[in-house]
Amino acid sequence: MSSIPSYATHKPETSCRCSAYLDWLQMLTGACLILFMLMHLLFVGSAIISPSLMNGLSKVFEWTGMAQIGGPVIFFLLLLHFVLAARKIPFASKQQGIMIANARRMHHLDTWLWVIQAVSGMVILVMGSIHLWTVLTNLPITAQKNAMRLQDSRAWIGFYIVFIPMVWLHTGIGFYRIMVKWGIVGIDGRPGLRKKDALIAATAMVIGFMTLWRFVFLSIN
């Protein structure tokens, strides 16, 4: 049994539940971030209908303290989720080589989806931190402020052209993996779930780009 000590430093006769707790945390932080992203999509997407609607929602978030407290909490969840997921991600180049070689050899969609999720996770860590820092250090959030940032510098437009697909690729694949990995969806349901999930992620991506478009061409005055 794996609990039998095989090293002098091995803790004797105690079974550690930490792997289970960390796996729970990884899944739950991921699920929370998925829920947040969907709500975030509705919030910023409201600017497509009307910038005033978005500003109104923003005022509610300010007034209830959700922006001031919720923002840093989401930042913390993002970092925690990364640390937890990083336990599984190969960082050594030899292991990365093995994973890429396996994906290329197998021609297996789910193996590639895992590679995409790992890569997009790294990108989100950096870009998500920049995005959150920029937004949270300039509260309250308004459609005009967003528009000004994008219209002032084209680099921000390029930033979001990369960031939006990364987020929805990671979110979409993450949701699919949680559902299958945790036994919620069985073998027969997997292809159907993958299709529906891809459709939702693609729709979210389109709404994200429409919002970006709206901000780029929004009259600031």
């Binding site: 049994m1 079974s15 289970a20 707790y21 021609h107 945790w182 036994g183």
Partner: protein, 253 residues
């Protein structure tokens, strides 16, 4: 008109100091209902007697002829050439020790795995040779049998990114075996005993969910579902003592 197939086959004999790993090309005319097992036998008989590969049952029962076919692990006897393009690349299974060419030693790996997870019924009952065998509900026996159909070919291990990266990962076949014992009422191990074996990052929590195991299993074992339910079972086994009563769950396989 029959196709002319081109086989690119990995060649290396670790026993021969003059041998070095390389790919060798063979050409063979396809026949009706040709399997890779038939093709390999013909290549060995007609073109190169030194070609090494394993086979035994020719009916996907023994699991000996597993190899990597155009990138994916599968059984040679179970794989028809008509399902592939003209060019077929054959490699030995990764993870396992190479015997030579396409032949690998899965036996040592599986024996080690069986010892690690104590792959036998643990019981304190003393065996009585005169007593009738205890009866088991037919539906339960069938569920155990479903998981017991594993032929230890090693395809799921060879297709698993985690197993390729980390040699301490138990692999889907071991987790499937544990699930089979959890179902079996003759095994008196407790949930804590099972947790000690698989409730770690080397066990069920190490699975990264690439689902390659499920998609290459030649016996179509429900590995994805088994691993999912095992993860849930072990996760609740660890968390139940922290959860309020209404959230506690005992997950059944």
């Amino acid at each position: 008109m029959a196709r002319m197939l081109t086989f690119n086959i990995f060649r290396y004999n670790p026993q021969d100091s003059a041998s070095f790993p390389h790919m060798q090309e063979f050409r063979l005319e396809e026949t009706e209902s040709m399997t890779l097992f038939i093709a390999l036998n013909r290549l060995r008989e007609e073109q190169d007697h030194s070609l090494q590969f394993d086979f035994c049952c020719r009916a996907a029962i023994c699991g000996a002829c597993a190899m990597v076919v155009n990138g994916r692990p599968g059984l040679a006897c179970h794989t028809k050439t008509k399902d592939f393009p003209d060019k077929i690349t054959l490699m030995p299974l990764p993870v396992f020790k190479l015997v030579g060419d396409l032949s690998v030693d899965t036996g040592t790996w599986f024996r080690g795995m069986a010892k690690k997870i104590e792959s036998w019924c643990h019981t304190k009952k003393v065996f009585d040779p005169n007593a009738q065998e205890e009866r088991m509900d037919n539906a339960l026996a069938e569920r155990i049998y479903e998981l017991d159909r594993c032929v230890e070919c090693g395809c799921c291990v060879a297709a698993c990114g985690t197993a390729l990266m980390r040699d301490d990962f138990l692999g889907a076949t071991a987790l499937n075996r544990i699930a089979r014992f959890i179902l079996d009422p003759r095994d008196e191990r407790t949930e804590k005993d099972y947790f000690d074996i698989i409730g770690t990052d080397e066990g069920v929590f190490g699975c990264m969910g690439l689902f390659g195991c499920q998609d290459v299993c030649p016996k179509r074992l429900p590995l994805q579902e088994v691993l999912g339910k095992l993860r849930l079972k072990m996760a609740f086994a660890a968390a139940n003592n922290l959860l309020p009563k209404f959230l506690r769950r005992e997950v059944r396989l």
